[in-house]
Symmetry: C2
Subunit: 259 residues, 2 copies
DNA sequence: ACCTGAACACCGTTCAAGT
DNA sequence: ACCTGAACACCGTTCAAGT
């Protein structure tokens, strides 16, 4: 933990994870009277609030209220709201089911492991729609993010892609999943806020669009394509798109093997 | 344009573009004295400010100040800040160079057109890093967004993908570009804010990471992969990743033709 | 070591009032 | 038709002070 004065000496610090000093908060006193707060409690409650009410309503004052404390108490444990968000971000990355890529897992089919990691990443983004803007905002170098990135690198390294293409392959797959999960997560959150099902929301938006003058032609093609894809619910349609897109990516990687 | 009272009658409105009444602002009076403001000026200045100072510093009060007017004047032209952002979003989508997919363009190679559209989308995201969170937030049904989506659909429809796979293919390509452009745009913006070049920022972050205990192994693989990819500057490295990733996607689509 | 109260410089938006 | 001033209910953060 770093005081405001220390921070002034390190003005280019770009991440909580690059703090000097104790990484997990200020030194705990050995004294018997336990403090009412700690970083982990603050982070856990932040995640809960962000999930429940969305990032727009998340404030230091609101969070403090939920913890039965004044807003200023929080500043004993984190330097800024930004740092807190970065901590919350890495904390939900802990939910990722990262396949075993070391011992026995190093012999598994890279395609299966890639699918597993992609599916898991997607579901984190959907469960926590506030995560995706933060992934863009921070460096993503917390321990859980790093474990994820490391596993992804190992999996793609075994795909047969030429060495010069592995980072590009990583981009292709995980930026896709990021984009997909972002849009999906926001859609789910919007429906929940509006108090309608995804199918209701979708039907309403499509209806409104069809009435727009000059958009008939565009909608015709869109509907034709949606028809061909099939799927009875919005969730099923999205699922088909995700699966097919992932298969395109895997097929593309296979096509680029050794070139 | 819709008054607060009208809006109350349409509580499920989910986009400025689904407003009832005049789509381009309130009716202009025929009177000779021109008003000092109009929607287009407000939108243009919003884009300028968002580019220059980022979304965190963008406020109705700040914007009004820049336009030489009080904050409340703006509410004559837009219902909420949210609506204004949605308008600004579609406005920068107007910068997209959408290939001709209708007449002669319908015979062009779909790969070339897909690359052109992807490159253009990426560069919009990088020039305007505030765009990417908004793409997640809104429905993206403004006229420029729709033209983009329509062109993308037409291009993918000619790729040889089976009809049921076209929407998945669209996801794969454009969610990838979205994710890539998001991360890239934020990185560029962060460097500008910190007043360092991308290469300096990158070197600093890598250096800090290498010093972290227990991250040696992960960094070794990452550096090996970056070595193999090559590229002397951060921009060049990113360029290689983007190009290769896009070729993976195209190869994947080709592999899925007719299946 | 840990927490608080008051204060500063901000927000988006409403509403009644001006011209 | 278009714009303003005052007001409401908020923000993140600092700082001096309490225990």
């Amino acid at each position: 933990m770093v005081s405001a004065a220390d921070r002034a000496k390190n003005p280019t610090r770009t991440s909580v994870w690059l703090e000097r000093g104790k990484p997990a908060g200020r030194a705990r006193r050995s004294d018997q009277s336990a403090p009412s707060l700690d970083r982990d409690r603050i982070i856990a409650e932040s995640v809960r609030l962000l999930d429940a009410e969305g990032p727009a309503k998340f404030s230091m004052r609101r969070l403090a209220g939920e913890l039965g404390v004044t807003a200023m108490s929080l500043y004993w444990y984190v330097d800024t709201k930004d740092d807190l968000l970065e901590l919350a971000l890495d904390s939900v990355f802990g939910e990722l089911r990262v396949p075993d890529v070391e011992g026995a897992g190093a012999d598994a089919d890279w395609r299966d492991q890639l699918r597993e990691l992609a599916v898991s990443y997607r579901s984190v983004m959907v469960r926590h729609p506030w995560v995706s803007p933060l992934v863009g905002r921070y460096l993503n170098i917390g321990p859980n993010s790093m474990e994820f990135a490391n596993a992804a690198q190992k999996i793609l390294s075994r795909s047969g892609l030429p060495a010069h293409g592995v980072t590009g392959g990583l981009s292709a797959v995980f930026q896709f999943v990021y984009g997909f999960g972002t849009i999906e997560g926001h859609f789910v959150a919007r429906c929940a806020e509006a108090g309608v099902t995804q199918d209701e929301y979708f039907a309403q938006a499509m209806g409104a669009l069809r009435e727009r003058p000059g958009f008939h032609e565009a909608m015709d093609l869109a509907e034709e394509l949606m028809e061909a894809r099939g799927g009875d619910t919005v969730e099923e349609m999205r699922e088909r798109d995700f699966v097919f897109a992932l298969e395109i990516l895997i097929a593309g990687i296979e096509a680029k093997r050794g070139r």
